[in-house]
């Protein structure tokens, strides 16, 4: 990085403006990271496959894959919570997706709502 670049970065970081302008900037910054990520996802530039290791959850999902009643007992309340079709049981991946969505909605409802809006905006922008 050249000295000139350093100075330009410092200027950008430390040039101060009015109180109202700074507040507006902060407000914009709050939704920017989500929107940027969804723009990448919609454009196909970012992965949408997730994976993690957890013995307890793996046990539940494996058992639900073998036992239709257990699968239904988990899937039904999740689908009701998400306003989905109760008759559509879905596969193991779908069950996991719903678990995470319900968790997000209950634990961090504001973030879940911001993500929904940002995703909608990214899709709309892509369609235009």
């Amino acid at each position: 990085m050249s000295d000139d670049t350093d100075i330009e970065e410092l200027k950008e970081q430390t040039q101060k403006g009015s109180r109202v302008g700074a507040a507006a900037e902060q407000s914009e910054e709050k939704t920017d990271p989500l929107l940027e990520e969804y723009r990448d996802i919609v454009a196909g530039d970012s992965s949408i496959t997730l994976s993690f290791r957890d013995e307890v959850i793996a046990g539940i999902l494996n058992a639900a894959g073998d036992d239709e009643d257990l699968h239904h007992s988990i899937a039904s309340p999740l689908q009701a919570e998400l306003d989905n079709d109760v008759e559509h049981a879905g596969d193991r991946s779908e069950l996991l997706r719903q678990l995470v969505r319900v968790g997000l909605r209950n634990a961090v409802p504001e973030t879940a709502e911001e993500a929904r809006e940002a995703y909608g905006q990214a899709v709309t922008e892509d369609a235009l």
Binding site: I7, L10, K11, T14, K16, G17, S18, G21
Partner: protein
């Protein structure tokens, strides 16, 4: 902290419209007759001190100027100064009447907000560090502060450790003077910098009224040790000069009240220096 040979003072009262900027400009010009004087405007984006010297349009055209006085209040200031050796010189303007000036900047508002995220006491020490390490060659530094107590204000008080308080003669102003003394005492108690009121200047005095005389007598009694030797008379010439971007010292044919105002600022300026030296 100020060195033994350097005079630093903040023009401050926690109230607008008492004559802080006018006093800063005129004391600065009076002091510049015999000293190298720097004026620093921390009073806010309206940049009244620059207007007082007719620099407003030139400086306003450069609102994008950077670094500026609000940059000094940023944690990255020392990095910037190291990369830009002329940064301080580039901030300083010649007023044309004697003193130099570091003008205010619109970013002071945001700087004040940003300071709230800095732990104390560092939050209040940016201007002091700037004056200690970066400003050279001045005998007198006068800082014009906002008419309210915020983080920028405390930075100015901390850096100068001395207050010159212009005050008009009125009950509100008298109460505000008492509050100023309480605030400075609290600051000294909580954070240790000893901040003194060096001079109380009765400003905009209308000598024709009995009420003014009574209030002046009260003020003399209450602030016997710090009261300025001369009161500054109300003068339309001061307002006219401001409108033309100059002080009354630059008026060619001053009125009688303007001459008295000039004399008052000169006497008070000399007294201020003497008080520091003693």
């Amino acid at each position: 902290m100020p060195t033994d040979t350097e005079v630093r003072a903040s023009l401050f009262l926690d109230k607008g419209g008492v004559g802080k900027t006018t006093s800063t400009a005129h004391l600065g010009v009076a002091l510049a007759e015999e000293h190298d004087v720097l004026l620093i405007d921390l009073a806010g984006k309206q940049n009244d001190l620059a207007k007082h010297f007719g620099l407003w349009e030139v400086i306003d055209d450069q609102e994008e100027r950077w670094p500026n006085i609000s940059t000094v209040l940023d944690k990255d200031w020392q990095t910037i100064r190291n990369k830009l050796p002329d940064a301080v010189d580039d901030m300083i303007w010649d007023t044309g009447e004697g003193p130099d000036l570091i003008p205010a900047h619109g970013g002071l508002d945001q700087a004040d907000d940003d300071l709230a995220n800095v732990p104390v006491p560092e939050r209040y020490q940016f201007v002091e560090q700037f004056l200690d390490e970066d400003v050279r060659g001045y005998d007198v530094i006068l800082v014009d502060l906002p008419g309210l107590t915020n983080n920028v204000t405390i930075n100015g008080l901390w850096a100068t450790r001395s207050v010159v308080a212009p005050t008009e003669l009125g009950e509100f102003e008298r109460q505000q003077m008492r509050q100023l003394l309480k605030d400075l005492e609290e600051l000294s108690t909580e954070f240790d910098p000893e901040i003194d009121v060096q001079m109380v200047i009765p400003n905009c005095v209308d000598g024709r009224t009995n009420l003014a005389e009574e209030l002046l007598d009260d003020l003399s009694e209450e602030y016997r040790d710090t009261l300025a030797p001369e009161q500054v008379p109300r003068s339309q010439d001061i307002r006219n000069a401001q409108a033309e971007g100059q002080t009354v010292f630059a008026i060619e044919n001053p009125s009688e009240t303007a001459q008295r105002a000039r004399s008052a600022f000169e006497v008070n300026a000399e007294a201020l220096i003497n008080r520091f030296q003693s």
